[in-house]
C-alpha cells in the first residue's frame, strides 16, 4: 500500500511534468518552426511572454520525480540511470542549454544574438522530450535490467518503442503548447496569433492522435507485454479516455473555447501516463522487478509520504497562487514581438500579415 502511494506521487509528478513541462518544450518547438525573424517574431514574442513566469516552477516537477524515485525506489533508480546514461545525460545537457538560452534571449541586444540563443533554446526544447521519452520507452519495453549498468547502453533507448515514445513526447508537447498559447494570445488580444496557434493546435492534435494510435502497432511487435497492458483492463480504459479527451479538445479548439480546451488537452496526456502505469502493473522495471520488490522499507516510504504531505500543505496553495495569477493575467508582461526590440516600429506592425 505504501509503495503504491509513493508510486502515485511519482506518477503525479510525471503527469504534471508531462503536461506543464512538455507544454514548455512544445512552446520551444513552435519557436523553432516559427520562420524568419519578422514573420516568426510575433509568435516568438508570445512564447517568451507565456513561458517566462512559469517555466522554472514547471521544471521542478522533474526534480520532484527524481527525488521521490531515488528515495522510494532506490534500486530501480540506480539501474535506470546507469543503463540509460546516454539519453539521460543528453537530456541533462539539453536542460542546461534550454534554460540558459531562454533567460539570455530575454536580454539579447541584437537580433543576431536573439537568433543564436533562440535556436539553442528551441532545438534543445525538441531534444529533451525526445530523450526523456526514449528513456521511458526503454523502461516500458523491459530493456532496463536490474544492476549497475546491466542493460545495453544503446539498444535500451534506440529501439522502436523508445523512438515512438520520444516522438510522441515531442508531438504532444507541441500540441499542448499550441492550445495553451492560443488561449494566452486571446487574453493578450492578438487575434492573428490566436488564429496561428489554433491552426497549429488542430494540426498537431490530429497528428499526435494518429501517431499514438499507429504507435500501438509498433508496440505490438516490439513490446508485446506493454501492448497487452494498454489494450486490456485499466490500461484500455485510460487509452480510450485519452482518445476521447483528445477529440474533445480538438472540438473545443475548433470552437475557440481555449479555456476549457486547456483542461481537456491536459487530461488526454494525464490519461496516457496513468494508462502506462496500469499497463505495466505490477512491474516497476518489467519484466523483472516488481513494485513491491523495488520499494524501499516502510519507514522510508512513510517518511516520504509524511514529508511530501506536509510539504504539499505549503506547496499546493503556492502553486494555486501562481497559476491563478498567471491565468488571471496578473503577471502578464506587455506583449511585444521578439524581433521588435531590434528594429524601429513600422506601420505594418499594427496590421500583421
Amino acid at each position: 500500500m505504501l509503495a503504491e502511494l509513493c508510486l502515485g506521487l511519482v506518477m503525479l509528478g510525471l503527469a504534471a511534468y508531462a503536461v506543464l513541462g512538455s507544454a514548455d518544450f512544445g512552446a520551444g518547438f513552435w519557436d523553432l518552426t516559427a520562420g524568419g525573424d519578422r514573420r516568426g517574431g510575433r509568435l516568438r514574442g508570445m512564447v517568451q511572454r507565456s513561458m517566462s513566469p512559469v517555466w522554472e516552477a514547471n521544471h521542478v516537477w522533474l526534480i520532484f520525480v527524481l527525488v521521490i524515485a531515488w528515495t522510494a525506489f532506490p534500486v530501480a533508480f540506480g539501474s535506470i540511470f546507469s543503463t540509460l546514461y546516454i539519453p539521460l545525460f543528453l537530456a541533462a545537457i539539453g536542460i542546461i542549454f534550454r534554460g540558459t538560452a531562454f533567460v539570455l534571449r530575454g536580454q539579447a541586444a541584437t537580433i543576431r544574438e536573439a537568433r543564436v540563443l533562440g535556436a539553442l533554446f528551441a532545438l534543445s526544447s525538441v531534444l529533451i522530450p525526445f530523450f526523456l521519452g526514449a528513456a521511458l520507452g526503454g523502461i516500458a519495453s523491459g530493456r532496463v535490467e536490474v544492476g549497475n549498468a546491466a542493460g545495453d547502453p544503446v539498444s535500451s533507448w534506440l529501439n522502436p518503442t523508445s523512438v515512438l515514445i520520444g516522438v510522441i513526447a515531442v508531438l504532444s508537447g507541441a500540441y499542448l503548447a499550441a492550445v495553451f498559447l492560443a488561449g494566452d494570445s486571446e487574453r493578450a488580444d492578438q487575434p492573428d496569433l490566436v488564429r496561428a496557434f489554433r491552426a497549429r493546435a488542430l494540426g498537431m492534435g490530429a497528428l499526435t492522435g494518429v501517431v499514438a494510435l499507429g504507435g500501438l502497432l509498433v508496440l505490438r511487435d516490439d513490446a508485446p507485454d506493454l501492448y497487452d497492458g494498454l489494450t486490456s483492463g485499466g490500461g484500455l480504459v485510460m487509452v480510450i479516455a485519452s482518445a476521447l479527451a483528445g477529440t474533445a479538445t480538438l472540438a473545443l479548439v475548433w470552437r475557440e473555447r481555449f479555456g476549457v480546451a486547456r483542461f481537456t488537452a491536459a487530461l488526454a496526456v494525464v490519461c496516457i501516463v496513468v494508462g502506462w502505469a496500469l499497463a505495466q502493473d505490477p512491474y516497476l522495471l518489467p519484466p523483472e522487478l516488481t513494485l513491491d520488490e523495488a520499494a524501499a522499507s516502510d519507514a522510508t516510504l512513510s517518511a516520504v509520504l509524511i514529508g511530501v504531505g506536509l510539504g504539499m500543505i505549503i506547496l499546493a496553495p503556492s502553486l494555486w497562487l501562481l497559476y491563478h495569477l498567471v491565468l488571471q493575467g496578473r503577471l502578464d508582461q506587455e506583449y511585444e514581438p521578439l524581433d521588435q526590440r531590434f528594429r524601429p516600429l513600422t506601420a505594418s506592425d499594427e496590421d500583421p500579415q
Binding site: V60, I63, F77, V146, N148, A149
Partner: protein, 468 residues
C-alpha cells in the same frame, strides 16, 4: 566507531547493485566536483540575494524613494537569472547522482533520500515566489509584493538545510544498521538530522551571504572608485557590504565549531587538515609547509605549539588522533585537504577583518570608510570569498575520501559501471565554460542599463553627500 581510539574499524557495506566498477573513480569524482563547484557559488545568490532585495524593497516602502525601488527591481532580475542557472545546474547534479553514483543511490537512497524530497519542495516554493516577485512588480499591491519576497528567503534556507543534511550525513552517517554488510532498518529522520548537519548548514548559509554580499559589493565598490556615488549606488554598496560584513566574523566562530565537530566525528579528516601523522597529546598547529607522506612530517611549516589541541578540543593538552590510526588505504590525500583548509582559514580571517573594519566605521562614525584601499579590498573580497567557498568544500569532500559514506561505503564501490565518462567529462567542461561566459555577458549587459529604466522615472541623480 569514532572516539579517541587508536585504531578505528570501518564497518563497510556491500553494494546493492554490484557489477563491474570503474578501475578508478577519478573521472566521476572530477565531474561531480566540477558540477558542484559551478552550482554552489551560484546558489549562494539564491540563498542570500533575496534577503537583501527584500530589505531594499522594505526601505522603499518606508521612504518611497524610487532609487530603492530601482535597485530592488534590478537586483530581482539578476536574482531571477541566477536562479534559472541554479535550477539547471542543480538539475545536472540530480542527474549525476544517478549517472555517476548509481550504487550510492541504490544502497542508501532510502536512508537519505527524504532530505532531497523536502529540498525539492523548498525549491518548488522558491521557484514559484521568485516568479511572482519578479513578474509582479507594479502589478501586485506594494505590500503584497513585498510579502511575496519573504517565502523566497525562507525556502532558500530550508532548501539548503535539506541538501546540506545529506552532505552532513555522508560525513557522519547515522540512521541505519549494517547487518552482514547490508544496509537495513533505515531511519530517514535520524539520517536527516545528523550531528554534522548543523554546523555545515550554518557555515554554508553564512558563506552564501559572504560570497554573494562581497561579490555584489565589489561591483559597487568599483563604481564608487569611479565616482558613481549617488543614492542608488551607495545603497547597493552599503546593503551588500553590511550583510557580508556581519556574516564574516561570525563565520570564524562557526568554523571553529565545525573544526571541533570534525575532530569528534571524523578524527582522521581533522588529522588530514593538519597533516598530523602520530596520535599525540598537545598537538601543534602548523601554518604552511608541505606534508611528506614518507616521514609523516610537515616540512617547511611554521609550528605553533599546542594550538591544534586547543582549537580542536579547547584544551591545550588534549589528544589529537593522527593519520596512523587507520590503514594507509583509508587516509585521504593530505596535501590537497590541508592546502584547501589553510586557504579557507586564511581568507576567512582576512574577510572577518575587512568586515569588522566596515562595521566599526559605520557604527562609530556613521559613514563609509574613506581610504581607497578599503574599496579595493572589497573588490578583492568577492573573488576571495569564492575561493574560500570552494576550498572549504574541497576540505570537506576530499577530506572524506576514500569514503563516499564515511567509514561505510567506499567511493569506488558507488561509482557507475558504464563507459564513456571521458566523453561526458569533456562535454560537461565545454558546457560549463559556455555557461559561465554567457552568464557574465548577460549580467554585464544588465548592469550597463541605467537604473531609471527600472522605474520609468529619473532616479535621484543627486549626489548623496555623506554625513560626517
Amino acid at each position: 566507531m569514532a572516539g579517541p581510539a587508536f585504531t578505528m574499524f570501518a564497518q563497510q557495506v556491500v553494494e546493492t547493485l554490484g557489477g563491474e566498477h570503474q578501475p578508478d573513480t577519478v573521472l566521476a569524482r572530477q565531474m561531480q566536483a566540477l558540477s558542484l563547484a559551478v552550482h554552489i557559488p551560484i546558489v549562494c545568490f539564491g540563498i542570500a540575494f533575496p534577503a537583501m532585495i527584500v530589505f531594499v524593497e522594505g526601505l522603499y516602502l518606508r521612504t518611497g524613494d524610487l532609487a530603492y525601488k530601482a535597485l530592488a527591481k534590478r537586483w530581482s532580475k539578476v536574482a531571477l537569472i541566477l536562479f534559472a542557472v541554479g535550477v539547471v545546474t542543480g538539475t545536472i547534479l540530480s542527474f549525476e547522482f544517478g549517472l555517476l553514483w548509481p550504487d550510492f543511490m541504490a544502497t542508501f537512497g532510502e536512508v537519505f533520500g527524504i532530505a532531497f524530497g523536502l529540498e525539492g519542495i523548498s525549491f518548488f516554493v522558491e521557484a514559484i515566489f521568485i516568479a511572482i516577485y519578479v513578474y509582479g512588480w507594479d502589478r501586485l499591491s506594494r505590500r503584497a509584493h513585498f510579502l511575496t519576497g519573504i517565502p523566497i528567503v525562507i525556502s532558500g534556507f530550508t532548501g539548503s538545510l535539506n541538501v546540506i543534511a545529506v552532505n552532513g550525513w555522508m560525513n557522519n552517517p547515522e540512521g541505519f544498521d549494517v547487518v552482514d554488510g547490508r544496509v537495513v532498518n533505515p531511519q530517514p529522520w535520524d539520517a536527516l538530522f545528523n550531528a554534522n548537519m548543523w554546523h555545515e548548514l550554518i557555515h554554508m548559509y553564512l558563506a552564501g551571504y559572504i560570497v554573494a554580499g562581497f561579490i555584489v559589493a565589489g561591483i559597487y565598490a568599483y563604481a564608487w572608485l569611479k565616482g558613481r556615488r549617488d543614492r542608488y549606488h551607495r545603497t547597493g554598496l552599503v546593503v551588500t557590504l553590511a550583510f557580508a560584513s556581519l556574516a564574516a566574523p561570525v563565520q570564524v566562530v562557526i568554523g571553529d565549531w565545525a573544526g571541533r565537530q570534525v575532530a569528534e566525528s571524523q578524527p582522521v579528516k581533522l588529522a588530514a587538515f593538519e597533516g598530523v601523522y602520530r596520535t599525540q597529546d598537545g598537538a601543534p598547529f602548523t601554518i604552511g609547509g608541505i606534508y611528506d607522506k614518507d616521514t609523516g612530517e610537515v616540512k617547511w611549516g611554521i609550528e605553533i605549539p599546542k594550538l591544534l589541541s586547543l582549537l580542536a578540543h579547547h584544551d591545550p593538552n588534549a589528544r589529537v588522533v593522527g593519520l596512523e590510526a587507520v590503514p594507509a588505504d583509508d587516509r585521504p590525500p593530505v596535501n590537497i585537504v590541508r592546502f584547501s583548509f589553510q586557504t579557507m582559514v586564511g581568507i576567512g580571517t582576512a574577510l572577518a577583518l575587512l568586515g569588522t573594519t566596515f562595521i566599526v566605521t559605520w557604527f562609530r562614525k556613521r559613514r563609509l570608510p574613506r581610504s581607497r584601499w578599503f574599496y579595493r579590498g572589497v573588490m578583492a573580497a568577492g573573488p576571495l570569498a569564492f575561493v574560500a567557498l570552494i576550498a572549504g568544500w574541497i576540505t570537506t569532500e576530499v577530506g572524506r575520501q576514500p569514503w563516499i559514506v564515511y567509514e561505510v561505503m567506499r567511493t569506488d564501490q558507488a561509482v557507475t559501471a558504464a563507459d564513456g565518462l571521458e566523453v561526458g567529462y569533456v562535454f560537461l567542461v565545454c558546457v560549463y565554460l559556455g555557461l559561465g561566459a554567457a552568464v557574465v555577458w548577460l549580467l554585464r549587459r544588465l548592469t550597463r542599463r541605467p537604473p531609471a529604466t527600472e522605474v520609468g522615472a529619473p532616479v535621484a541623480p543627486a549626489r548623496d553627500e555623506e554625513p560626517s
